[in-house]
């Protein structure tokens, strides 16, 4: 009580000032439309900006679920694409929908391990045998191709990255579709070499490099990158083409494992020939 009295003795005038000024402002906002409107508007701005902050936080927390949902959707869409189908039509002009058969299915996966700075780089995925992943399946991301599955366990898969000295991927270049083999020289993780493009092919800097579909690993027409340098080496019949990858393998997060449903048929054929 004594403390309260001292408080009033010391700050009484100021407290009275605050009380009267507060009362005046309350009355002002109560009875004056213009000031009330400004006050409400300011309050709204303040609260909405605060709300937006909280919303963003919530978005971030829900991001994981969203990604999973989108992965599922992407999987559906990719499988519905024509490049994922096998056409049974014999005559071109009688193509109907029921002559298309599903050729590729996709298994969404998350990258849980990755490296780009060695000469032999592997990527680890959190999908394995249990989810239908098998060795020699292609792996793609939204921006292009990623690599080939080398080994699988029950829950994980080990993928040979594009950035691997043994990588050989059939790829086509330009509108004419001359195809060659993609290799990695082991230097720059942004660039690969496209080999075995014949010298008479019209290749220019900026041409698109895309998967040819010959390797049964990837559907046809997935963009790999662009031609950044064309050098006709003297005395050889093939270009040395440097390809700038569209996919940044250094920040890979979400990928799809490509399942070729007719792979066994191809293997059967191969065996028949080899016998």
């Amino acid at each position: 009580m004594r403390g309260l009295y001292q408080l009033f003795a010391a700050y009484g005038n100021f407290l009275l000032f605050l009380a009267l000024e507060g009362l005046s402002l309350v009355l002002l906002l109560q009875y004056n439309y213009r000031q009330q409107a400004i006050y409400d508007h300011s309050l709204l701005l303040l609260s909405s900006s605060a709300e937006r902050q909280v919303d963003q936080l919530g978005d971030y927390i829900n991001l994981r679920d969203e990604v999973l949902k989108l992965q599922g959707e992407n999987q559906q869409l990719k499988q519905a694409l024509e490049s994922a189908k096998f056409s049974n039509a014999v005559q071109q002009d009688t193509v109907s929908n029921d002559s298309l058969e599903q050729l590729y299915t996709y298994i969404p996966a998350n990258v849980i391990g990755n490296s780009i700075n060695n000469t032999i780089n592997y990527i680890r995925l959190d999908r394995g045998r249990k989810h239908g992943v098998a060795p020699n399946m292609g792996v793609i991301s939204a921006d292009g191709i990623v690599g080939v599955v080398r080994a699988v366990s029950e829950h994980y898969a080990s993928v040979m990255s594009l950035l691997h000295r043994q990588t050989r991927i059939k790829a086509a270049v330009g509108s004419d579709g001359y195809f060659g083999t993609l290799r990695w020289t082991g230097k720059d993780p942004q660039y690969m070499q496209l080999e075995a493009i014949p010298k008479h092919a019209p290749v220019e800097v900026g041409d698109t490099v895309y998967t040819s579909g010959y390797s049964q690993l990837f559907p046809e027409g997935i963009m790999v990158g662009t031609v950044s340098e064309v050098k006709p080496p003297p005395g050889r019949n093939f270009y040395a083409i440097q390809v700038k990858l569209r996919n940044d393998l250094g920040k890979l997060r979400y990928v799809y494992v490509v399942n070729n449903l007719m792979r066994e048929e191809h293997e059967e054929l191969d065996e028949t020939i080899n016998e």
Partner: protein, 173 residues
Amino acid sequence: MNSAVGIHIFRFVALLLLQGLILKRISAGWMGYVYFDVLLYPLFIILLPLRTPRSLVMISAFLLGLGVDLFYGTIGLHAAASVFTAYLRAFVLSQLEPREGYNVDFSPTKAQLGAPWFFRYASIMLGIHLFAYFSIDAFSPVFFADIVVKTLYSFLFSMFFIIIMVLIFNPRQ
């Protein structure tokens, strides 16, 4: 003592009526935009005796402002500005204190403290009041330029009326 209180009550009512019934009509501008108001009622706050308790200054200013608000139809606006001015009165007085100090029985009037001192004091108080008034009226720092323009115009006209009133009545208390 009683007569002194009576003078201030009379001044309170007179200024309130003068402001609310007559000076309210004097406001002008151009292009449909009000550029100045004449506010004479702060003279009451200005002229309260030096020994008036600060709390009483604020309460009477609040009541006067509320009364003016009733005439103007802007409940709370003049009251808020008046309370602000009344609260700052003590600071202004302490800043303007003459070298020999105040005589506690004095009122801050032209008759007792001299014309230069009084008009300096009155103009500072009026400036504070007008700035507070237009700031609270605009209610947003967005209109700062407007606030300053209105304060300057209103200051000229209001000060003119205050000088006339003080010269005519030359109040001692």
